[in-house]
Each structure stands twice: as structure tokens, then as C-alpha cells.
Symmetry: C4
Subunit: 191 residues, 4 copies
């Protein structure tokens, strides 16, 4: 079974999620600068979520490049990842419209955490299908960055109830950490 | 005529339907846990419909893998399937917002039933085009799972007027029954 | 320049239009059969527009199959067609919500007419690029069905101001006329 | 790393943006010609933005045709471009619903300006990856049209506060200037 259709389908879902995100930026009533001000937190959350979805798309791109074939398990592990990503527009809208309140900031983190776990499951499913000498396993190594992200998300969820700015700072940290595409895989592909 | 464009178009429609589904999860007014509670039935219906669309996409993927070429009849049988699937976000939203009331639960089942019938028509159209020795016919066999699903949907529609929880339980049963990708085809492709 | 990306882009736009169409079917307030009744005209208009978009996608599929290469003119003639198709959800929603009133029924026809003209321009642009011995020109012949459709749309627009049911009947006529994929091209491809 | 998936993803995003644009054309309450009149500025802005997105898609198509391979930098430069394009439906809606008022007209220009800058960055990133003898660099030359567009956008933003019609006229000018696909690249591809 070829992986082309899996890639195309995932690309389609992520492309739509990225554009649905922007629907939360509702056209304001007024026509002056003041009308834009209440949109600022929504806009900033939009930028953050855009980067997260971009990171997932980019890493997914790299990961599938090292996958050989697709079986039913991989297909569902991928749908599981897309499920959590599909909730990002909802949590983005909720966090953005509530000026970074505690519960929406925590729920935003829960969805990111679950997406990271789903990504990790997908990765392991592909590696399991490749058996020994898996190219993906070799490229990923200990996957320290993936594990660290999950730990930071968990911390951010807890800290949202202390002060939501801690969580926001941690989400931005993870986004920046991944903004650079995964050089481990890229160098292996090039090498 | 190649089947690539038919696959890409179907993938596009299903990818959009999956993401449009989540638009029914409207951002709540409040910013606490209580604000999320009324969304729970909508969320559960969303998960159910996501799984159904995932099952259709996965089975469609497997089925077209065994198709050779595409003609006008197959193209329209496929559009007919997409038509019924396109109504899933509507019935999902209606059922979710009405706490699983009788009529919405029955209409939800009607759309699933019609989609299953459309899938079966598409399957038969492809087999008819392959003539004797059809690889798809051999892989599917008696299609017991497909026929059983249609029977369960019909039962669920009737039971929605007795107690909607019966229907909900039956929909979940069908979803779980299909969550495992069609091993008959997969083993044949691998074999 | 390859035609693959033009096909993929057009498929994407039509796939999204088909699914955006269904967004006009808003989830009703009530949970009984009576709540569905006001949706009936919207639903019927939805079915009609779904068929029209399906016809365009199917014919576009066949037409590009006979195109050799894509140049800038073809690219813009194609975008011009997509522009008119993109207005179909708007006119569908307006006609559906106004129980087939005169002006919305006429405007619905104007968009279909312009899409048909745009399709014809795209066809001529591809043929012009192929020069003599164009395979597409040979397959299409006099394009009687295309010209007839344009004439029927023009009649339907005028008749919308007499009685909108005439227009509705004419739109259904054109849809049925095209529901059968273009055998002239299909037989040529097969032959 | 192949460029196919980058093209497909970009096509997906632009296809969705083009169709989301039309969602700002809300179905009016009335059913007569008067009901359409308030939609006229929204419609005209829609046409303008449709042309801009079409121009970006067409030029992107041409540019990637001359790209060889895709690396992480190109991937993110492309996402950066898509980010600014994703804001076009928002600015289109805001400008259209405010009858071309000053601030919305200026913000519309800011997003176009940033998209043009992002396009230019993407172009330079691809050229940098190709090194000497870059086919894209040769095809683009001094990129006078790209630089001129950026200058016109900047002027249009400033003039929006004098009289918004100046900006509107300038936006239309840029759109017309690009409506012709980039012959420099096309002739090179053909040659």
C-alpha cells in the first residue's frame, strides 16, 4: 500500500485546519484601529497555533519520508493524530476569546499534549512496521525533543492554574524549539 | 482513465468533512469547566462521526487499491457516496445539540444507512467493471460485514423511537466493528 | 508545464465548494420532524447544486484528460471557471432560503450561465493551444450539449420573472442532461 | 526531499482560502435586487482578493517549477507566505463590510505587502539553495515587477488615510499588472 494517499489526506486535513483557524478572527464591527484591539489576543493565539500546525506538518513530512509502506495500524495512528489536531481551532478560539484564562489555557495544553502523544504513537507504529534496522528509528534516536515537549506540555497544564502566563510562555517555548525542522532526519536524508 | 484524481477528490471531500464536523463544537461563552459541560454530547457525537468518516476513508482507500480503472459510472457512484457523507456534519450537529433525541438520532442513522448503501453500490459498480476474476470481488467475498452494518443501521433507526440510547449503542457497535481495517483486502494485497 | 497541479487545485476548490454548500443546511432549533420541514427547499437546492458541481468536476476531469500541456492562458481560464463555481454556495443558499423566489432563482441561473460560458472559454483555450488535430476538438465536435445548456440557462433566467417553477424545472433538466458523463470523450479515450 | 508535497499543501491552503473568501458574501435576508445592493462592495472586494490569490497561486506554480529540491528553510519560508495569505479572507471581509473605509483599506494593504515580502523571501531562499547558476535567479532577473508591487502597496497603505479610493485604485493596478502570468519564467520553461 502506497503512502502517497496518506500524505495527501493528512496534508488536506492540516491545510483545512490552518485555514479554519483564521475563521475565529471574526470581522469586527467598527472600522478603526480600536476595533482591532480586542482581536489582538485572538490573533496572537492564531499565530501560535499556526506555528504548531506548521511544525506538525513539517515533522510529519519528514517522518513519512523515512516510512516505507503504510498498513492499517499506521493509517489509524495517523487518523488519531489528525483527531487531536482537529481540536486545535476550537481550543485556539476558546483561549483567544478569553484573554488567556486558566481553564482555556489548560485545555489548549491538553490538546497539544494529546497530539504530541498521538505523534509519538504514530512514530512508534511506523518503526514497529519497519522492524530492525528501521531508518526512522535510526534518524530519531532517543527522541529527546519529543519527550521534552510532552513534559513541558504537562507542566504548562498544571501551571495554568497558578498563572496562565507561565503556560503561555511554555507553549511559545515548545513552538520555538520545533520551529527549526528536525535536522536529525534532514541530515540523514541528505547523507 | 486513471483513478488517481478520483482518489484525490474523495480524499479532499472527506478531509474537509472531518474538519467541518469540528465547526459544530462552538467556542463557549464562559471560561470555566462548567462552560464545557454542555459541549460534551456534541463532542461525543463528533468523536463518533470522526470514526465513521475515518472508517469510510480507510475502506475507500483499500477498495480503490484493488480497482483497476475508473469509468463514468464509477465516478458517479463515488459522488453519490460523497453526497451522503457530506450530510454527516449536519446530522452530527443536530444529534449532538439535542442530547440524543429520537428524531435526530433516527436521521443520523438514515444518513449512515444511505452512505452504507452508496458504498455498496460503488463496490458493485467497480466489480462489474472488472468482469470475471475481479480482484475486488475475490477480496470482499460475501461482504458479510457490509450487509450486517446495513441491518444494524436499519434496526437503530427503528429503535430510536423506542429509546435513543439503543440507537446510540448500535452506532458505536458498528463503528467499533469497522475500526479494524478490512483485513480481508489487506491480507490479499500483502499476499 | 504539467497539468497535474492544475487538476489537483481544481479538485481542491470543487471539493471544498461541495462541502461548503452543506453549511447552508443549518442545524435546526427543534428536535422533531417539523423542525426539518423548513429545510426542505434548502435541501433540494443543495441536491441540485451538488449535482451541478459534480457534473463540472466530472466533465473537467474528462476534458483535462485530453489536454496535453498547460500554459498561462489555460491556467487563468481555469481560475475564471472556478470563480463562477465559487459563487454557487451563495446562490444556492439564497435560492434555498427564499423558497425559490424570482430574483434568487434568476441569480442562481446567472451564475450557472457564467460558469457554462467560462467552461466553454476554457475548452476553446485548450483547443487553441493544441492547434490542428486537437484531440479535444475532435472529441467534442460541435459541442451541441454545451451550447444547448447555455440557451436553457438564458431561458430559465428570463422565465424566473414569469414563474420561478419554470426556471427550477429547466435547471433540473440541464442537470439530468449532464448527469450522464460525456460519452463522446469517454468513448474516444477508450477507443 | 521532493517538492510535490509542498506544492500539494500550498495548493490545498490557497484552494481553501479562495473558497473561504466567498463565505463573507452572506446570504441576504430579502429576496429582491435591493437585498443584493449592500453586498456589492463585499462582492467587488471578493473579486479583487480572488484575483490576488489566483496570482499568488499561478506565480507560486511557476516558481516551484524552477525549484529543484526542498529543504527545511524553504518549507518554513513557504509556511510564512501561507500565513499572510491566510489573513486575506479576514481583511477582505473587513474592507468589504466597511465600504472601503481608511483603516480597513490600509490593513488590507499591510497583509498584501507582507505577503509580497514573504513571497520575495521564499524566492530568495530557493535561489540560495540552488547556488550559482540558479535557474530561478536567471528566470527572474532583477524582479522589477516584484519590487514595484511592494512599493505600490506601501504607497497604497499611506494613501488610505488621505482617500481610500487611491488605495483601492492602486490595489487594482497591482492585480492587473500580475494578471498576466510571469512570461519571463514561462518563456524560459518553454525555451
Amino acid at each position: 500500500m502506497s503512502k502517497g494517499r496518506l500524505e495527501a489526506f493528512s496534508d488536506g486535513v492540516v491545510a483545512i485546519l490552518i485555514t479554519i483557524l483564521v475563521l475565529e478572527l471574526r470581522v469586527p464591527q467598527g472600522a478603526d484601529w480600536a476595533a482591532l484591539r480586542p482581536l489582538l489576543p485572538v490573533f496572537l493565539t492564531y499565530v501560535l497555533s499556526f506555528v504548531f500546525l506548521g511544525v506538525y506538518w513539517s515533522n510529519h513530512h519528514h517522518m513519512l519520508h523515512l516510512a516505507d509502506r503504510v498498513n492499517g495500524k499506521i493509517l489509524w495512528a495517523n487518523l488519531h493524530l489528525l483527531f487531536w489536531l482537529s481540536l486545535v481551532p476550537f481550543t485556539t478560539g476558546w483561549m483567544g476569546q478569553n484573554h488567556f484564562a486558566s481553564v482555556p489555557a489548560a485545555v489548549y495544553g491538553v490538546v497539544l499534549l494529546m497530539a504530541a502523544v498521538a505523534y509519538s504513537i504514530l512514530q512508534r507504529t511506523i518503526i514497529a512496521g519497519q522492524g530492525r534496522g528501521s531508518r526512522l528509528a535510526a534518524a530519531i534516536g532517543s527522541d529527546a525533543k519529543g519527550k521534552l515537549s510532552i513534559a513541558i506540555y504537562a507542566t504548562a497544564i498544571a501551571l495554568a492554574f497558578v498563572n496562565q502566563w507561565f503556560s503561555d510562555a511554555l507553549y511559545v517555548t515548545v513552538a520555538l524549539m520545533w520551529l527549526v525542522p528536525d535536522r536529525r532526519i534532514e541530515s540523514r536524508v541528505a547523507g
